[in-house]
Amino acid sequence: MTSGVATAPATSQAFKSDYKPIWCPGCGDYSVLASITKAFAMLALSPENIAVVSGIGCSSRIPAYTNCYGFHGVHGRALAAGTGLKVARPDLTVLVAGGDGDGYSIGGNHFLHACRRNVDLTYVVMDNHVYGMTKGQPSPTTEPDWDSKLSPGGTGLRTFHPLVIALAAGANFVARAFSGDPNGTAQILAEAIRTPGFSFVEILSPCVTFCPEQREWKNQVRPAPVATTDDPVRAARRIMTDDGFNIGVLYKGERKPYQPSAGKAAKHLADLEAEFLI
């Protein structure tokens, strides 16, 4: 809640904590925070029933800026922690958040398997194509010719395509949003949270400090020219020609969310001894 301003009922303000973000002014993550809290409000959730789980990096600072329960874990493992939490506590709304370095580099393996496992949680990646917190190294989504100290002249590597990977790995809900349209992003997030199973939302979120050229993104993004599909083949065809700037929900499937395997019902703990008895 910011300094003494009266708030409209059921708005994002109720989900914001008193801690002031340390993000650079102009950072896209401010808008993402606004969108996330707005989505929570749109869904009429209560802060105490939401857990925001993150890794390490600028974007991963987000849990403390909400009024929800938060988990600021180690680099790249937020999806694992979030999976554990959701399976153990299916009653909670679990939102996993982080940046492109945290999620696609060190977190890459967990990303693949989270898409495949389809636990009912939402994964938000604030993608700014850079490692911001450690002062500007290339991330998997950095353009191949982006000059940096660690990769002078650019990495020369093909960029990671998170939506392609998500779809190929079996994610049930795949979307891209843009921090420059907080309302549209809130809508996509609300839909992602509402949809059962693993929902992946990649949010383009410019870094004003290390990638000033990303101010151009607002002129490059466009609403996706076609409606959401529930056909993974059609989605795959579309995503292969995607240029990284189509905004909207690409794919929304019907896969049943993950359920831990059901064992034989035991009425009492002591029932479990039966097989040992001679």
Binding site: T2, S3, V5, A6, T7, A8, P9, A10, T11, S12, Q13, K20, P21, I22, W23, C24, P25, G26, C27, G28, Y30, S31, A34, K38, A39, F40, A41, M42, L43, A44, I56, G57, C58, M133, T134, K135, G136, S179, G180, D181, P182, N183, G184, A186, Q187, A190, P206, V208, T209, F210, R215, K218, N219, R222, P223, P225, A227
Partner: protein, 198 residues
């Protein structure tokens, strides 16, 4: 941010496509035709603008730009004042009930809400006022457009009044700008490199 940069217009094709898509999507977005809905939106607009300026003030304070933080706090108080006035004069002091998550605006955020991306940690008061001016002008346009669209006579009257008020606010900010020093050359300059903490 600097005077050379201007806000580029959306490509016209894109804008049309967006609205067409939005109409197709079920959004819970009311197309305000009644005066009551209209007033609720107008009020929400002021409140959201106040909240946004307050959060800008916080971000500026965190980055030790206290002059601009103070200015944003002032702007926040002004917007809150407008909201309170609206509440008193037209809503009988009773805050309207908004849909969960607040109003769904056509163009993303409330017309009077300054976008986050416009800040710079070294920005000067002049820049802040330029942002505010753009907000007031957008608000004025919003009300004027609404007035020309609506079929409800009472709503139209209210909208025209609001448009005029926003125009007045814009003038006040223009005057304020005239009294404010222009941004210094190299206002962005920071001799120190970014520092790391994580």
């Amino acid at each position: 941010m600097s005077k050379e940069k201007t806000v580029r217009a959306r490509k016209s094709g894109g804008a049309r496509t967006l609205r067409a898509r939005d109409r197709a999507r079920p959004t819970g977005r009311a197309n305000p035709t009644h005066r009551a809905d209209f007033l609720a939106r107008a009020w929400a607009m002021e409140v959201e603008a106040a909240e946004r300026y307050a959060s800008f003030a916080d971000a500026m304070d965190e980055h030790n730009n206290h002059d601009v933080a103070e200015l944003f706090r002032k702007l926040s108080r002004i917007e809150q004042l407008h909201a309170d006035q609206l509440l008193e004069e037209t809503l009988s002091g009773r805050p309207p009930v908004l849909p969960p998550g607040g109003v769904q605006w056509d163009s993303g955020e409330g017309p009077e809400t300054a976008p986050h991306g416009e800040l710079h940690y070294r920005m000067q008061p002049y820049h802040a006022l330029q942002i505010a001016l753009a907000c007031e002008r957008r608000a004025n346009k919003f009300f004027a457009a609404y007035a020309s669209r609506t079929t409800d006579a009472k709503a139209r009257k209210a909208a025209l009044e609001m448009a005029a008020e926003e125009a007045e606010h814009a003038h006040l900010i223009e005057d304020w700008l005239k009294r404010t020093p222009q941004p210094e050359k190299d206002w962005e300059h920071d001799p120190d490199p970014p520092l790391v903490s994580d």
